[in-house]
C-alpha cells in the first residue's frame, strides 16, 4: 500500500523507528478535500516540522494525529494513522486515552479560566493519575519546571492563569500538556501569537523537550523550522510535497515547489 504512493513522492517518507505513521491519508471537510494521499513518518524523540503556505493542510494533518478533527462536523477521513504500530482510527481505540498519550499545544495560548495550579493539574485530575495531593503537587511542579515556567510563577500558583503574559500562558499550556506525561506533543504554530523574546524561550523549551517527547510542530516561520526541527515536511495544496532531514530540505530541496517556497518565491 505504501509502495504505490512512494513512487509518486520526491522524498523518502519513512524513518527507521517511526513513533507515528500516516499512510494514504485523505481528508474531506464535507465535499472539499483538504488532504491528498499523505504518507509521513514521525520519528521518535525528534522534532518534525510541518511547513507550507496558508491553507496547505499542515494544521489539518496535525489534527489528524490526535483525532482532534473528530470534534468538527462533517469531516471524513480515509487511510491510516498509527501510533506505535496501532491504527488510532480503529473502533476499539479510546480517543480519550489516545489524546492523553498525544498532547497538543494550540496556536493561541488557551489557558482555562482557573488558577495556574488548576490549569496544570487539569489533566492529571481527569485521568486520575494521582492518589494524593502531594503527588499532584509534585506533578504540577515538575511540569512547570519542564516548561521553564516554575521560577516565574512559583509564588502565585493560586492566581488566575489569564493574568500571565502571552508567552507565559503558552508555556503554561505546554506544562499542562506535559503534566499528563504524553508520548507525543503536537504544536500548532505555538509561537505565532508571541513576541520574539517569548518565541525564543518556547523554542529553547521545544529543544529541551525533545529528549523526552516526540514533537510535531506546525510553523509558518521557516527560520523556526530550521532552528528547532530535525526533520521537515513541506505541504502544498493538501499534498505532502517533500520530507527529509531539515538540513537537506533547507539547503538542497529536491522539489522545485519546495525550493520556491523556502526561497520566498511564493507562499
Amino acid at each position: 500500500m505504501a509502495a504505490v504512493s512512494q513512487s509518486a513522492m520526491t522524498a523518502e517518507p519513512s524513518v527507521e523507528k517511526p513513533k507515528m505513521t500516516a499512510r494514504n491519508l485523505d481528508l474531506f471537510y464535507s465535499d472539499n478535500q483538504a488532504l491528498y494521499e499523505v504518507n509521513l513518518d514521525i520519528a521518535e524523540q525528534q522534532v518534525t516540522a510541518l511547513i507550507g503556505p496558508s491553507g496547505c493542510g499542515k494544521s489539518t494533518f496535525l489534527r489528524c494525529l490526535n483525532r482532534m478533527n473528530d470534534t468538527i462536523d462533517g469531516v471524513t477521513l480515509k487511510g491510516e494513522v498509527t501510533l506505535d504500530g496501532r491504527d488510532i482510527y480503529d473502533k476499539r481505540i479510546d480517543v480519550v486515552q489516545l489524546r492523553a498519550r498525544i498532547g497538543m499545544v494550540f496556536q493561541k495560548p488557551n489557558p482555562f479560566p482557573k488558577t495556574i495550579y488548576d490549569n496544570v493539574a487539569y489533566g492529571p485530575r481527569i485521568h486520575g493519575l494521582v492518589n494524593s495531593r502531594d503527588e499532584l503537587d509534585e506533578i504540577v511542579m515538575t511540569s512547570l519546571e519542564r516548561a521553564g515556567l516554575l521560577k516565574e510563577v512559583k509564588d502565585r500558583l493560586q492566581s488566575p492563569a489569564t493574568g500571565l503574559s502571552g508567552g507565559q500562558q503558552q508555556r503554561l499550556c505546554i506544562a499542562r500538556a506535559v503534566a499528563v506525561s504524553p508520548e507525543v506533543i503536537l504544536m500548532d504554530e505555538p509561537c505565532s501569537a508571541l513576541d520574539p523574546i517569548a518565541t525564543a524561550k518556547v523554542e529553547e523549551l521545544i529543544d529541551e523537550l525533545r529528549s523526552n517527547y516526540t514533537i510535531v510542530i506546525v510553523t509558518h516561520s521557516m527560520q523556526q523550522a530550521a532552528r528547532v526541527s530535525q526533520r521537515t515536511a513541506f505541504f502544498h495544496l493538501g499534498k505532502l510535497v517533500e520530507v527529509g532531514e531539515t538540513d537537506q530540505i533547507f539547503t538542497n530541496p529536491k522539489d522545485e515547489r519546495t525550493k520556491g517556497y523556502i526561497t520566498g518565491r511564493f507562499g
Binding site: M68, T71, V96, R99, M104, F106, F112, H127
Partner: protein, 459 residues
C-alpha cells in the same frame, strides 16, 4: 378640521415639498448630478423635513399649552365665590366642559356656568382654527425657506444626516421619558399611600388584609397593610419556579449546544422556544384547571392536604414558562465560550462531559448566573399564572401545598375593586408596584452587570 385630517394635510405638503426640492435640485444640476453636492433625493428629503418638522413641533407646543391657557381664560370670567373654593371650581369646570361638548342638557347649574360653557365652545372652535392656520403656515414657511436655500453646493446630504440624528434622539427621548413618567406616577401615588400608612408598617408588617370601609358610616375593619406575607408568597412561588426552570433549562441548553446533532437542534430549539410564545393566560388556566387538581388529587392519595389553589401548582407552571428563557440565555453564554478552550480540554483527553463540567460551565458561570437572575425577575413580575392559580389568601407560610398570594395578584385585585381611588386600599397597589419595580430593577441591573462583565472577557 380634525387632527387626523390636519396631519394628513401636513403629510401631503411634505410630499409636495419633496417633489419641489428634488425638481429644483435637478434644474440646478443642469442634467448632471455631479454638479450638485448631494443627490437630488437629498434635496427633496431636506425640503420635506423642513416642511414637516416645524409643523409637528408647533403642534406639540400647541397641545402643551392649549389646555391651561383655555382654562385660565374661562376661570378669569367666573364669579369670585366659585373660583375661591377649589372643590366647587373643579365641579364647575367639569360642567362647563360638558356643556361645551353639548352633553349638559340634564345639568341644573347657575346661568354663569351655562354662559361659560358656551364661551368655552367658542374658544375651542377658534383654537382649532388657529391651530390649523399656525401649523400649515409653519409648514409652508419651512418649505419656502428651505426651498430657497437650495443651491448646487448646499450640503443637503449632511443636513439630512443631522436631522435624522435629531429624530432618533427624539425617539429615544420618548422611550426614556415615558419610563421615567411611569416610575414617577408610581412614586407619587405610593408617597400618597405612605401619608396614610406608615412605610415601616407597610414594609415589615406581618398581616395583610386591605379591607377598609367604603363609606364613613360603614362598619368595617381598618385594614392591615403589612406586605411581608405577599413577598413571602412571591418568593415561595419564585423559588418553586426556579427549581423547575434552572435545572431543566440549563441541561436542555447544554444538550442543545454541545450534544445535539445539527438536524435535531434545528427542530428542537424552535420547539423549545415556542414555550416562550404561549400566552401566560394559557399557562394560567393550565395551572388552575389541570395541574392544581392533579396535585390535589394525588396529594389526597398520599395523605397530604393540598389546597386546590396551591403555591406548588402556580410555581411548577411558572417554572415551565421560564424554561425557554433560561435555556436560550444560557445557551448564548455557553456558545460564547471560545472554541480554543474546548479544544484545549479535548486535547488533554477530557471527555465531553468533563469538558463541559470543568471548563465550559465555570467559564460561562457568570453569564448563567445573570440569566438566572433575569429569569427570577421575570418570575417575580409574572402575574397571570398566579392570579389564576395561586389564590388570594395572604398566608404567611413556607408550605408549598397551601394557597399563598403574590404581590402581583394583590395589585390586580386591589385595582379592580370598587373603592374610591384615594383610599388606602387602592393606593397600596401603587406602593406594592413601586417595591416590585425596585426589586426587579435591582435584579435586572445586577444581572446585566454580571452578564456584561462576562462578555468583556471573551469578546
Amino acid at each position: 378640521m380634525s387632527l387626523s385630517f390636519l396631519l394628513l394635510a401636513v403629510a401631503a405638503l411634505c410630499a409636495l415639498s419633496f417633489y419641489f426640492g428634488r425638481q429644483r435640485a435637478v434644474a440646478l444640476s443642469g442634467g448632471r448630478h455631479s454638479n450638485l453636492h448631494s443627490l437630488p433625493v437629498h434635496y427633496g428629503a431636506y425640503t420635506a423635513a423642513w416642511c414637516g418638522l416645524p409643523a409637528l413641533f408647533l403642534l406639540l407646543i400647541w397641545y402643551c399649552f392649549q389646555g391651561s391657557v383655555i382654562e385660565a381664560l374661562i376661570v378669569s370670567d367666573l364669579p369670585q365665590e366659585i373660583v375661591s373654593d377649589s372643590g366647587r371650581l373643579s365641579l364647575a369646570l367639569n360642567s362647563i366642559s360638558l356643556i361645551a361638548d353639548g352633553n349638559g342638557q340634564h345639568l341644573t347649574v347657575e346661568p354663569e356656568i351655562v354662559d361659560a360653557g358656551r364661551r368655552l365652545a367658542n374658544i375651542q372652535t377658534i383654537a382649532n382654527a388657529a391651530l390649523v392656520v399656525v401649523m400649515l403656515s409653519g409648514a409652508v414657511l419651512g418649505l419656502s425657506l428651505s426651498y430657497r436655500k437650495i443651491t448646487a453646493d448646499m450640503r443637503a446630504r449632511n443636513n439630512i444626516e443631522r436631522i435624522a440624528r435629531y429624530v432618533m434622539i427624539a425617539c429615544s427621548a420618548i422611550a426614556i421619558l415615558s419610563t421615567v413618567g411611569i416610575v414617577f406616577s408610581l412614586l407619587f401615588e405610593a408617597l400618597h399611600f405612605f401619608t396614610k400608612i406608615n412605610p415601616l408598617e407597610f414594609l415589615f408588617g406581618l398581616e395583610w388584609s386591605p379591607q377598609t370601609a367604603i363609606r364613613a358610616d360603614q362598619v368595617a375593619s381598618e385594614g392591615a397593610f403589612g406586605a411581608i406575607p405577599l413577598f413571602v408568597g412571591t418568593l415561595l412561588i419564585t423559588l418553586i419556579a426556579m427549581c423547575v426552570a434552572v435545572p431543566i433549562g440549563l441541561f436542555s441548553a447544554i444538550y442543545m449546544g454541545e450534544y445535539a446533532s445539527p438536524k435535531f437542534r434545528a427542530v428542537a430549539k424552535p420547539a423549545l422556544e415556542i414555550l416562550a410564545g404561549v400566552p401566560t393566560v394559557v399557562y394560567g388556566f393550565f395551572a388552575a384547571l389541570t395541574v392544581a387538581p392533579f396535585l390535589r388529587d394525588n396529594g389526597a392519595i398520599l395523605g397530604l392536604d393540598v389546597s386546590s389553589e396551591s403555591a406548588l401548582a402556580a410555581g411548577l407552571v411558572m417554572g415551565v414558562m421560564i424554561i425557554p428563557f433560561v435555556s436560550s440565555l444560557s445557551d448564548d453564554v455557553m456558545s460564547q465560550v471560545p472554541k480554543s478552550l474546548r479544544d484545549g480540554s479535548y486535547g488533554l483527553g477530557a471527555t465531553k462531559s468533563e469538558t463541559i463540567r470543568n471548563v465550559i460551565f465555570p467559564a460561562a458561570l457568570p453569564g448563567i448566573v445573570g440569566a438566572v437572575l433575569l429569569a427570577v425577575s421575570r418570575a417575580i413580575g409574572e402575574t397571570m399564572i398566579v392570579v389564576m392559580a395561586a389564590g388570594l389568601a395572604a398566608n404567611m407560610t413556607a408550605n408549598p401545598l397551601q394557597a399563598v398570594t403574590t404581590v402581583t395578584v394583590q395589585i390586580v385585585t386591589l385595582l379592580v375593586g370598587d373603592q374610591e381611588f384615594d383610599s388606602a386600599k387602592t393606593l397600596s397597589a401603587f406602593a406594592l408596584g413601586l417595591v416590585l419595580f425596585l426589586v426587579t430593577l435591582g435584579l435586572n441591573v445586577f444581572a446585566l452587570k454580571v452578564v456584561q462583565k462576562y462578555r468583556e472577557k471573551y469578546d
